[in-house]
Amino acid sequence: MKTPVVILDQVDKYYPKGVHALREINLQIDQGEWTAVMGPSGSGKTTLLNLLDGLDRPTSGRIEILGVDTNRFGADEWTVFRREHIGLVFQQFYLIPYLTALENVMLAQYYHSMVDKKQAMRALERIGLSDRARHLPSQLSGGEQQRACIARALINAPKIILADEPTGNLDEENEKTVMDIFRELDLEGQTIVMVTHNPELGKLADRRIYLEYGRVTAFH
């Protein structure tokens, strides 16, 4: 039986100056599903993801996540909700530059609940970064930084992982490593929403949503 994790109902998003970035989006994402959001540049993929993680708000329509209507959230409520249930991976591998890979992971623990160094270390081990745990981001390669970001996104066992072109800035080899991690997560039943340009990567997902001019044009 499928449990809906995300439900979008008639969601519209306007940016200032009248840019209509998303139009009448109706969408359901189920638990354990790996969804790829695809489409040309400027079609609204990032915008859609930002509505799901609460960094941005819809202009109209309803967004229900884990059965909660997120429209009622204030900024700090969204922050709390996000750190409880959502893990974020960005295209640029944002890490705090003066904290080591391990400390960056522990920071997410700190904001979520309690710092547990052993657990943070296990998260890094899992993505093959344990020998780089005490390196600063500037001492890590792009692929290693992105893996640290994934470890950080996973550390609090989120219900949903949102990734915006997680391999957009990586070479092929690193792209493969990252996708292997995602595949593994998918097998474990992790709900993942991933934005990508790359049809090859899109094929890995359970389901693909195509966007064009802010509209959903196809599901596969």
């Binding site: 990032t46 993680d53 960094l55 700090d76 922050t79 944002y94 003066y98 920071l107 710092v115």
Partner: protein, 468 residues
């Protein structure tokens, strides 16, 4: 974890944090330095101005009787109220048989140039032993310098010359247990002396007035024989002095020496006193116009304010048979100039404080705005706004405190150097300023970053992170 992040943030970004600290450091240094200078200006200017001489002249009562010389009226411009009804009959002393006696009146007139020939009927003296009492009167803390002087004469190379004896340096014990040190070397700092003051304890050195030196072709280091009524002394000239007044044509040495040489032990013909005074204001004027018009409270206030007249009359009461006269011009400018300059330096310090604060704020603001992605990221991974704000403010406060502390240190050093350079004297201790400066740094730094941090927090997190 909070402190760990903070620690890492500072230790692993030494260069940037160093820059912020440096900005605060330099700013606070300047401010503390200037504030110190402005706080010291009052004291030091007082000292400086005091070195421009006495502002109260003390004379025997009889000397204040008008004397006319040709067309010049040598009237001491004395308020007759000073001649208090003491039935003053100062001991008259007939001075010498000399027919050609120059009187070097206590009036500050350039008599040496006029060469007036006066034959005073009598000269009177004050008692030297009365002067230490000035440190016991009501105004004792306002009395900053006392130089009793004895004008007499002696013979050099067969001609009669004026001789001036004065306290070179004298220690007067006071009730506080600390000696009050005064004398000509301190009060007449403005005298221009080629060479040096007669050495203390050595009775065989003297200063020579520049005109007299020219007349006798005496130069520095020469010796000359001075004959008095009680013997003669061979002096070595330790300095040639030029004051622009009657000292220029006299031999000047210590009071004791002159007293012994002329048999006038314990006698003084006048005294210069330097006192800290308050410029006359409305209240003083009101009193002058009509003493009766003052209410009791006003009278109380008037009588406790060190107006020049009040201090002078206190001195006059303490020294028997004396009349104390205010040298009005000097004491008035003293107060007025002082207030103005003090205000000016304080104004400068405040302007510096403001401009330094602004530039520190500017530097910190750009440092915070540079970290916008960090602010956005912290929020994205679950930091509430208040947490981010606290984190940034605590960090910047620490930097501010460190910068302020360093600034307090170097600032007080700068202040000392400034005071040294400008007033050639040691700066007072301003511990309060040094203690205050870390807080000043904290305040300026926190104020400087508050706005940019709030601004960074208010920014569209999504936009910053996704780089649209």
């Amino acid at each position: 974890m909070f402190w760990r992040i903070l620690f890492d943030s500072i230790v692993r970004r030494k260069k940037r944090k160093g820059l912020a600290i440096l900005a605060v450091w330099i700013g606070i240094s300047l401010v503390v330095g200037l504030l110190m200078l402005s706080l010291d200006t009052g004291d030091k200017m007082n000292l400086e101005l005091r070195s421009f001489g006495a502002n109260i002249k003390v004379m025997p009562v009889s000397s204040s009787i008008p004397v006319t010389v040709g067309d010049y009226a040598l009237t001491p411009s004395m308020d007759s109220s000073y001649l208090t009804g003491r039935g003053a009959s100062p001991r008259p002393v007939i001075l010498s048989e000399a027919k050609d006696l120059r009187s070097f009146g206590p009036l500050g007139l350039r008599m040496s140039r006029l060469h007036p020939k006066i034959t005073p009927r009598r000269l009177s003296y004050l008692e030297e032993s009365d002067f230490p009492k000035l440190k016991e009167i009501f105004w004792r803390n306002n009395i900053m310098g006392i130089v009793p002087r004895l004008w007499t004469e002696g013979e050099v190379n067969g001609s009669t010359v004026p001789i001036l004896g004065l306290w070179l340096e004298r220690r007067i014990p006071t009730e506080t247990g600390e000696d009050f040190v005064t004398g000509a070397t301190q009060l007449y700092k403005h005298w221009s002396i080629r060479g040096s003051w007669p050495s203390r304890g050595d009775e065989r050195t003297c200063l020579m007035g520049v005109e007299l030196a020219r007349r006798f072709s005496v130069s520095l280091g020469d010796t000359l024989e001075v004959k008095g009524q009680r013997g003669s002394i061979r002096f070595q000239v330790s300095g040639i002095v030029s004051t622009g007044t009657q000292e220029d044509s006299s031999v000047i040495t210590s009071l004791d020496t002159v007293q012994r040489l002329t048999g006038l032990e314990g006698k003084v013909s006048e005294a210069d006193v330097s006192a800290l005074t308050t410029p006359e204001n409305k209240l003083a004027e009101k009193y002058r116009l009509s003493p009766q018009s003052l209410a009791p409270v006003e009278y109380e206030r008037w009588s406790c304010t060190p107006y020049p007249e009040n201090v002078a009359s206190g001195i006059q009461d303490a020294i028997p048979n004396s009349a104390a006269r205010v040298i009005r011009r000097v004491s008035e400018t003293q107060g007025a100039v002082l207030t103005r300059i003090k205000g000016l330096v304080f104004f400068l310090a405040i302007v510096t404080l403001i401009s330094c604060s602004l530039s520190i704020m500017g530097i910190l603001a750009s440092a915070v705005l540079e970290r916008r992605p960090e602010v956005a990221l912290l929020q994205a991974i679950g930091a509430e706004r208040s947490h981010v704000l606290t984190f940034f403010l605590v960090e910047v406060a620490l930097l501010g405190i460190v910068g302020g502390f360093l600034g307090g240190m170097t600032g007080s050093w700068i202040g000392q150097e400034l005071v040294q350079a400008i007033f050639a004297s040691k700066a007072n201790d301003h511990l309060a300023l040094v203690i205050l400066s870390p807080f000043l740094g904290l305040g300026v730094a926190s104020l400087g970053s508050l706005r940019p941090v709030l601004q960074a927090l208010g920014e569209d997190t999504a936009q910053v992170l996704h780089g649209n």
